[in-house]
């Protein structure tokens, strides 16, 4: 009995390996691969957005595109290897946490072009931009084939904070944040600065949850802060943050989404959703791939910010009539201030 089970398992394994091989046949087209973070390609957030950008470019330029999902951080390098083995030309990695894996693999495969979202790598140690941020410099040959797609989350977080400060009745606003990594911290710092710029007596709470896939925990954390008087919950942590939005909705309070317009991706909470602090990951990925298509892609850092429209608030949707004009005017004022540089978010890298 045991033997037959074993052979059955072996058969299953062989079939699945064969199936995996069959998918990779291609005919000379440029191939672009996307490695997602643990949130997966349907995370209704930045992984999904990045994949949308890849798909758009692949369709337009007639490329072949494929994604691999990382189930855990140890998958990052493995997944990049898989694309490299299958001779992919461009590999897009999604998320700050994939920084080390991407750097290691970019050195290992110098002929593949890499693009990473949310982690800034600089091409060589001697590059000018590297002097004041030494921690991101590589002196072992540099990353000449890697482009970093960065976002100024603190700017759009600031605008979300202005809306929150303007709408809050209690004067307390809060953030259900994901892992304490730079893109998340930027959102939190911006949000809190924005709410205090809007009303100086604003109280801002936040809790970091060490996961992006734990909505149940996010909701409990949101509940705790609601108990402390918070009435505008900013969910800045993928699925974990979504739990915070739900907590606000169930208590009849207000919420602000993140990364994409969550009115579309999480309609269950639309009654509470004021707006979303969006970063246009799809546009950034698409624009980068366009430069690849034109054979003009460059290593280094490309920053999306409020000036070039790479980040911004999503529409108010159902709340449009309920957000007073005074608040909207303040958002406009803050936007102009951030653009001109007369307002800073206070984020220190």
């Amino acid at each position: 009995m045991r033997k037959s089970l074993l052979s059955f398992t072996a058969l299953l394994l062989t079939t699945s390996v064969l199936a995996a091989c069959a998918g990779s046949a291609s005919g000379g087209k440029l191939k672009v691969g996307l490695v997602t973070d643990t949130g997966g390609v349907n995370d209704k957030s930045f992984n999904q957005s990045a994949w949308a950008g890849v798909q758009q470019a692949a369709k337009e330029f007639g490329w072949e595109a494929k994604f691999i999902e990382s189930k855990q951080p140890t998958d990052y390098e493995k997944n990049i290897d898989q694309f490299a083995t299958e001779k992919y030309d461009v590999i897009v990695t999604v998320g700050f946490l994939m920084g080390d894996a991407t750097a290691a693999k970019a050195i290992q495969y110098p002929n593949i072009k890499f693009a990473i979202i949310d982690n800034a790598y600089y091409p060589t140690k001697d590059a000018k931009v590297c002097d004041d941020t030494k921690k991101d410099c590589y002196d072992d040959g540099g990353l000449k084939n890697t482009t970093s797609l960065m976002f100024q989350e603190d700017q759009v977080g600031f605008l979300a904070g202005v809306v929150a400060g303007g709408m809050s009745k209690t004067g307390t606003v809060c953030t259900v944040a994901g892992m304490e990594i730079p893109p998340v911290v930027k959102f939190v710092v911006g949000y809190e600065a924005g709410s205090k710029w809007m009303r100086s007596d604003a109280k801002a709470l936040h809790v970091y949850v060490p996961s992006f896939t734990d909505p149940a925990k996010g909701k409990e954390v949101g509940n705790s802060m609601i108990d402390q008087g918070c009435d505008v919950v900013f969910g800045a942590g993928g699925n974990t943050g979504n739990g915070g939005l739900l907590a606000a909705k169930e208590k009849g309070l207000m919420a602000i989404g993140v990364d994409v317009d969550q009115y579309n991706t999480y309609p269950e909470v639309k009654d509470a959703l004021l707006t979303s602090a969006a970063k246009n990951v799809d546009v950034a990925v698409y624009e980068y791939l366009k430069t690849v298509n034109a054979k003009a892609s460059k290593a280094g850092v490309i920053t999306a910010n409020i000036q070039n429209g790479g980040v911004g608030l999503a529409p108010y949707h159902d709340w449009d009539s309920k957000v007073p004009d005074t608040v909207k005017a303040k958002v406009k004022e803050a936007t102009d201030g951030l653009k001109s540089g007369s307002i800073t978010t206070g984020y220190q890298p």
Binding site: M1, R2, L5, T38, G39, G40, V41, N42, D43, E69, K71, E180, L205, H206, V207, Y208, V209, P210, S211, T213, D214, P215, A216, K217, K219, E220, V221, N223, S224, M225, D227, Q228, N239, N242, G243, L246, Y266, P267, E268
Partner: protein, 367 residues
Amino acid sequence: MSTTTARSIVKDIQVSGLRGRWWVTALFGVLLLVAVWMLLNLVIGGKCGADCVQGTLAQTLRVATPIAFAAFCGVLCERAGVVNIGIEGQMLMAAMAGYAVNLFAFQALKDSIGIEAAGNLSRWLAVLAGILSALILAALHAVVSIEFKTNQIISGTVINILSVGITGFLYRQFLAENLPPGPGTFPIAPIPVLSQIPVIGPILFQQKPLTYLMLILAFAIHYVLYYTPWGLRTRAVGEHPRAADTLGINVYRIRYINVLVGGLVAGLGGAWFTLEAVDVFNPLMTNGLGFIGLAAMIFGKWNPFGALLGALIFGLGNSITSTVSIFRPDIPSQLPQMLPYLLTIIVLTGVVGRATPPAADGEPYEK
């Protein structure tokens, strides 16, 4: 083995000290609670008053619910001698099945019987779907580990991996794109009269249905395990299957039924995620709570009340984490995040002492 020897072995099991005393557990819990509360106030500067205690404890019970279900599943399986580390996978599967059925049943029903009724009905249908899906995985575990006598750790691991794969696949195929909104989670169901009791009411009696079910299950499993013939047979099979067999107990049958019932209980734990906690499903959303449940089971020395206490301690650590983070943003966030695990280790090593599993735990029985 002679019948006389077998009888004396089973007699020993019947009176053995593995039985839990609920009041010892409760007393220990209260003492721990007071200590933690005092420590907490020391850290956050005395800001945790009555409201905060009430909120924290209500949250503790909510967070502990899925962990306790997992632990109960572990108790049922391991008391019969079957190690089940596939609880995590069973819960994940149930979470997805529950989410999907809740959504689709609601869409199918809402036009014919009205939104309110459709919501109620589809939520309970979803719970049913959740426990059935976990039951299928439990049956797989039972067949592989009892019938084919495969290593039970391997079988459990396979179930966990299988479940991640299946839920991930089905989610992407059917559940990821633009679905119409579902009816949402169970509303809070306050229990009449009892929920009006000050302090205790809001903590214990203003919860959602699965949480009540979890508390009832703790008593039910305790009763079954220690006061019914079935419980004695289960324990005999877990401690000394040879002796049980000699006395005419069908070892395989007992083990099958316990693992299957365990599957139902794990299914309730999974349903908690998508029907009681939040109205979304995302891959890997059980986040290892199935394994924490196993830790709670060991902490509770394979007793239902002990396991419940273990789950509550972990839940308490979790809710205190947010309280500390809120009041002390100056403390690096990673420190309070370690709290639940730290608390578990301290309690496990310092207070509980040696935990002895059922003697035949994890050993396939050869006739």
